[in-house]
Each structure stands twice: as structure tokens, then as C-alpha cells.
Amino acid sequence: MSITKSLNDAVARREHPRLRRYKETLLYAKYVIFHPFDGFWDLVHEKRGSLAAAHTFVLLFLLTYVLKLMYTSFQFITTAIQYINIYERWASLLLPFLVLCLANWSLSTLFDGKGRFKDIYMAMSYALVPYIIIQLPLILISNVLAFDEGAFYTVLMSISELWCLFLAFVGLMEVHDFGPGKTLVSIVATVFGAMVILFLLLVFFSLLSDAFGYFTSMYREIVFRLS
């Protein structure tokens, strides 16, 4: 037992172990976003991340998104806030996110990927962190910028988005233990996979409603005949 660790333990002695772990996994994001190759590897293979932290990041991401729509200065954003349904927007963010994770997981066997669904979800959630840490302050910043200083806003925004994309890419690479080329191929396959999943869902629901219609009409017919 190193002295630092035992000292840390001593300082944090009073904390509940689960809370402590949650805090640690949450703060581990800082390491992940600056050292993605190492970070993502340890995240899943060394159990440095937790699902709780991943959920937190997804929730924060959704929250950031809404705050951004509501409080960004109107000079930089054209959102008809009066027409927006927040739940709809959330669904339109969450659903693709989850479907893509699912598709990636489904295809990981095909590509010899090592990651489980939990790992993929975790990596993708941790990849959202730059979006949160840049866009949240950006909401405030947008309110002290004039229109012709919009370049700052756009640049920061692009950085946050590109960073996230890069992290997602590296995340998949490390989770599945792929090379970059293979990751690229698997991403393309994932997109197609997601489409297939959506198609199947559509077919399933339409069949379900057909079946439902069939049974209700049959019930009505029987009731009609009997009475």
C-alpha cells in the first residue's frame, strides 16, 4: 500500500465507499478527455468508469442541450423556442444514441470486438463530456458577446463537437481493441445496422398494430354475433 493511497483513504475516510467510487469515476472523465487512448482503455478494462457516472453524463448532456436552447443569446441561435417540445428533442437525441450503441454492440461479434454493451454505452457517455464542459460555459459567454464577435462562439462550439466525435472514435477503438481502419469500417457498419434496427422496429410496430386491430375486430364480431 503506497503512502499516497493510504493518505487519500485517510482523508476520505468518512465517505461512503459507493459514493466515493461514484465520485472517482465521475472525476475520471477529466483523465479520459485529455488522454483518450489510455483513458478509454482503463475506463472499461481497468474498471475506472461506472455506469452511474455514464448515466450522469448523458443526463447532463440532455440538460445542457435544453439550457443551450433556452438561454443562449438570440444572436447566435435560431431556435423557435415557442414551437419546441423538449421531450421530443430529448427523444431525438437519446434514441439515435442508444440505437447506435445497440447496433455497434450487435455488430461487435461480427468484427471480433471485445466490448460489451455496457462498455460501449459507458465509452460513448464519457465521450459526451467535452460537449458539457464547453457548452455550459458557452451559454454564459454567448450572453456577453456581440453579434460580430460570433466567431468565438462558433469556434468553441465546433471544438466541443469535434472533440466529442474524436473521443467517440477513440472510445470505440479502445473498447473493442480495434485499429483505426477497422473502427472506421465498424462505424459505417453501425450506421447501417442502426437503420436496420429502426426498420425492424417500424415493421414490428406496424405488425403489432395490425395484429391488435385483427383481434379487436374479431372480438367485436363475436360480441355482435352473440348478442
Binding site: L7, F74, Q75, A146, E149
Partner: protein, 553 residues
């Protein structure tokens, strides 16, 4: 009880009055959506009427012997209105006295004076005998060569034995301040110029230049004349732009060609999937012709374009309205969220769906321009910044202010004249109080009377609380008065980011100057706080280390 009775009396009066107010609105004849505007979210917003019909000119009201037949164009010079009565090969000259329009004369022939005869004959493409002399008919009249590709023996008759020439499908007219009349005499393949006594002056005919396809007829459709007498002709079947003639009649090239538009899919399909035979059957990607032209007082040509599809509007490829400078570039200012394209939305199921098609445009003296849309019979007004002022009008029959096939618009002062080709009528619109206030406010602003302008805009706001230009106008004046916060609120209301940003910069500067002490103080507190926190942590750490060592020992 007494109270009750009074209440009942009031109710009774109200029930009598209520239908009367409805009847009044109906009598007014204008539905509440006759005039409208689009808000920032491209939602249609009802607006007070900016223009109302004051008069409709019909053939009968002018006491014409022969009724108008498919008139094609209008032209206004001072108080005179010229109607090109294409179907009857004549031009009607009207003059306005007070609010009435009276017929001055019918222009249907041009006399060629003896001194001009030779010039006229030389410029016209007349039929000749084998020995080189001009071919004449038995009655001594001269004929044009038959149109290209036609099997006819003779072209149209262009000069009688009395040295009179007639029009053949005239499509447009222009009159210069001296009273010289220019007529785009389409099927005679010429632009004929006459003086105010209808005597022949000059002819603009097919250029013999090699840039002009000699196998094609010269069919002048629309024309404008600039202050130095240069003539710009919009000719049918010519897609290189406007044909430009100098005042002396020499052809000096084309100007303002409509850039070629095609989409990627068409391109891929044509280049990679079509056989050579198929390709040769199809037209190449060619620029389209303009629909109509107008020259403003500064000499810039406004051109409208109607040959585009809805898809082209998405990224402003269509550019239905252009302002063409001397080198042929489009310099129209577009400072609104949406470029000037007319209607932003329409009911897809209706019979008149589809993008607005501007058949004509006119530019007022205050640089505001009005375009007439044939699709839905609407007039769209824009200010010099490209911000929509209003839209009014609709399609229909047997009512004032509705059009069946509106194809020309002109202005007389701020009054608008709209020609209906099918109905053979000219509708005269005059601005209402609301319209006049808008004109007045922008004029005051241009004159430098900023406070006056703001006051006028306030009045506009009382009539229409959805009018963005009014918010911007008042905001500007507030900004000049250094009331930045109010200005910002107004600009925000109008979604004017540019002006908001400007006001915000001043506001921010003042705020920082005022609160610099606090800013410094807060930063100082933060620095101190973080230093203190660090120290406390360090102490804690040391205490822990000390205790740890004690335990280990």
C-alpha cells in the same frame, strides 16, 4: 331592479349593434388576410391594409371603341400612363387628372418622314427583288422577310404607301422625359423609336454582330431605356442576358446573363447514365431568360426571373429578383432572414400552390420595390434592405383588388397600377394611412430626421404591433439617443442581430466601466478564496500525514 333593467337595455343595444359591426366589416370588402407580412419564423401575420383600390380602369371606363385584348405591359411617365394593348397592336396613352384617368390618344401607327425614309428602309430587313430593289405590293406597301424557319412567302407588312408603319405584337413601351416613345415591336423584330408627334426617329434591329446568333430571330419582348438613351432589350430565345444598344443604335453586347443552374443529381444523371443519343435529344444546361426588367432612377436594372423550381429557392439559387449593375452582377441587398422570394409558404393542396412568380417589378422613388406575383395575384413590397414591407392581393374575379392574370406593375408617385392580362383592366392602388406612415418613416430616416422617423414608427406600431421594421426604426433612434438597453430590447423584438450586437457593445462597455470595481473585487475574492482553500487542504494533508506516521510508528 333598476340596475337589472339597465343591464338588459345595454344587452339589447349590444345584440342590435353586434350584427351591424359584422355587416360593416363585410361592406368594407377587405378580408383580414388581404394584406399580410411574414414574421421572423416565417409565420403569416395579418396586417392592416397598406394599399387599397381607388379605381379600376376598364375598356368601358375609357370609352374605347375596340376593347383591350390581352394587354401586356404598363409604363408611367409623370402623370401619363401607357398601356400596351398587345392584342390590338396599339398603345393607349392615358393621363391622370386628379384621381381620374382619361384617354389621351391611341398610338397604333408611326409616320416615317421623307428625310428618315431611307434610314428606315435600310434598317428594316425588307424583302427585295432579284435585282436588289425593294419588293412592293400592288398598293405600294413593303414587307419584311418571312420569319426564320417559316414557309410563308412574305413577312409582315411594315410600311404602307403613305409611309406609315404599324405595330405587330408590341410587348413593351418606354417613354423618355422628352416624350420619345420606344416600342418593343416584337413580331416586326425591331424596337421602334418615335417622337411625341408619333414620327419615326430611330430603329433598333437585329445586331449583325457575330456574338448574336444570326439564325435566330430578334424578338424584343421587354425594354428599358437609361438616362443616356442606352436601350436594354429582353429578347425571346436569347439566354445570354439583355441585349444592349447604345443610343445611336449600335449593339454593344449582352449584359447580366442568368447564371446556369442545375443540380448535382441532374448532372450525374446526364453525364454518366444517359446514352449519347439521349443526351443529344435533351437540351443542354442553359441559362434561363428573365421575365421582366425595370430600370431604377440610378440606372440599375431590376430583373425578375420566373423559370425555377421550388427546390431552387432553398439556398437562394433562384434569385427571383435581381438588381444588375453595369457589369452584369446581381447586387440586390438581402438583409432579411429570407431573401425576397415572395411567399414563404402556401397550401400545397390548393390550385395555386407553388412559389411566387414575379412577372413584373417596379421601383419607387424611395428605392422600395414592388413585384407582382402571378401565381397568387399578389403584390410584394420590399424595402432597399430586402426586408418585406407587405404583401397584398389575391386571385379571383369580379371584385376589386383581385387578379386573374396580373402581368405588369407600375407606380405613379406612391400609387401602384397593376395590369391584368385576362381581365383587361388596370387596378389603381393608393397607400392607406398605414402605408403612408411606413413610407414617411423611412423617408424621414433617409433625410436624417431620426427622431421624427421614430415617432412615425411609433404610429405604425399602434396600427400593427407585429411590424419588425418599426421596432428596428425606433431602436435605431434609441441607440442614437444612447438608450442602449431600450434599443436592445427593441432589436431583440425584431430579431435584428446586427443592430442588437451594435447596441450591446455600447451597453457592455458602459456596464464594464460602471462596474469595473466590482469585477476586480470579485476576481480578487476568488483568488484569495482559492489560495485559502489550497492552504487549508495542505494543512489537512499534513495533519493526516502526521497522524499516519504516528500510527505506523
Amino acid at each position: 331592479m333598476k340596475k337589472m333593467r339597465r343591464l338588459l337595455a345595454i344587452l339589447a343595444v349590444l345584440t342590435i349593434l353586434a350584427p351591424m359591426t359584422v355587416a360593416y366589416a363585410a361592406e368594407d370588402g377587405y378580408s383580414s388576410t388581404y394584406t399580410y407580412n411574414y414574421d421572423y419564423w416565417s409565420e403569416l401575420r395579418e396586417s392592416p391594409d397598406a394599399y387599397r383600390v381607388t379605381d379600376v380602369i376598364y375598356s368601358s371606363s375609357l370609352a374605347l371603341e375596340k376593347a383591350m385584348r390581352s394587354p401586356k405591359s404598363l409604363f408611367v411617365r409623370d402623370q401619363d400612363l401607357y398601356i400596351v394593348d398587345t392584342g390590338n397592336n396599339r398603345i393607349l396613352q392615358l393621363t391622370r387628372i386628379g384621381t381620374r384617368f382619361d384617354l389621351v390618344r391611341v398610338i397604333d401607327q408611326v409616320t416615317v418622314g421623307a428625310d428618315k425614309l431611307e434610314e428606315f428602309m435600310a434598317a428594316s430587313d425588307l424583302m427585295k427583288n432579284e435585282d436588289g430593289t425593294y419588293l412592293t405590293d400592288d398598293d405600294g406597301s413593303y414587307y419584311l422577310k418571312p420569319p426564320i424557319g417559316s414557309a410563308a412567302e412574305k413577312g409582315p407588312m411594315v410600311l404602307t404607301s403613305e409611309n406609315v408603319t404599324y405595330f405587330n405584337n408590341p410587348n413593351d413601351v418606354s417613354v423618355d422625359p422628352d416624350g420619345k416613345i420606344y416600342v418593343a415591336d416584337r413580331d416586326n423584330n425591331r424596337v421602334i423609336v418615335m417622337n411625341k408627334d408619333l414620327e419615326f426617329v430611330q430603329l433598333f434591329t437585329k445586331p449583325s454582330d457575330s456574338t448574336f446568333d444570326q439564325n435566330q430571330a430578334f424578338l424584343p419582348n421587354k425594354l428599358v431605356v437609361d438616362t443616356s438613351g442606352r436601350v436594354f432589350v429582353l429578347a425571346n430565345n436569347i439566354n445570354k442576358g439583355l441585349v444592349k444598344f447604345e443610343a445611336d443604335g449600335t449593339f454593344t453586347g449582352f449584359i447580366g446573363a442568368n447564371p446556369v443552374t442545375y443540380n448535382l443529381w441532374d448532372y450525374i444523371w446526364k453525364t454518366y447514365f444517359m446514352t449519347k443519343e439521349q443526351r443529344s435529344q435533351q437540351a443542354a444546361f442553359v441559362p434561363t431568360e428573365y421575365q421582366n426588367i425595370y430600370i431604377d432612377k440610378e440606372g440599375f436594372i431590376y430583373a425578375t426571373n420566373t423559370s425555377f423550381s421550388e427546390y431552387d429557392l432553398l439556398w437562394d439559387n433562384a434569385k427571383p429578383i435581381r438588381r444588375i449593375n453595369a457589369v452584369g452582377q446581381d447586387i440586390l441587398v438581402k438583409n432579411d432572414r429570407y431573401p425576397p422570394i415572395g411567399d414563404l409558404e402556401w397550401v400545397e393542396q390548393s390550385s395555386d400552390h407553388g412559389p411566387s412568380k414575379f412577372y413584373d417589378i417596379t421601383v419607387l422613388d424611395n428605392d422600395m420595390y414592388m413585384a407582382i406575383d402571378q401565381t397568387r395575384g399578389r403584390v410584394f413590397g420590399y424595402d432597399p434592405q430586402g426586408i418585406m414591407l407587405w404583401s397584398f392581393g389575391t386571385t379571383g374575379v369580379n371584385a376589386e383588388g383581385v387578379f386573374t392574370r396580373a402581368n405588369s406593375i407600375e407606380h405613379m408617385g406612391t400609387d401602384l397600377l397593376v395590369l391584368d392580362e385576362l381581365d383587361c383592366s388596370v387596378t389603381v392602388f393608393a397607400p392607406t394611412e398605414y402605408g403612408n406612415l411606413i413610407y414617411q418613416a423611412s423617408e424621414q430616416y433617409l433625410r436624417g430626421d431620426y427622431d421624427g422617423s421614430a415617432e412615425t414608427w411609433e404610429k405604425v406600431l399602434q396600427l400593427n404591433a407585429n411590424y419588425n421594421l418599426a421596432f428596428i426604426g425606433i431602436g435605431r433612434s434609441k441607440m442614437r439617443a444612447e438608450e442602449y438597453e431600450e434599443a436592445m430590447a427593441l432589436f431583440k423584438m425584431a430579431h435584428d442581430r446586427d443592430n442588437y450586437g451594435r447596441a450591446f457593445r455600447y451597453y457592455r462597455k458602459i456596464w464594464v466601466e460602471k462596474n469595473i470595481l466590482w469585477v476586480v473585487l470579485i476576481i480578487a475574492v476568488l483568488v484569495v478564496f482559492s489560495f485559502v482553500r489550497k492552504t487549508i487542504r495542505k494543512v489537512k494533508w499534513e495533519v493526516a500525514a502526521y497522524e499516519h506516521n504516528k500510527v505506523v510508528k
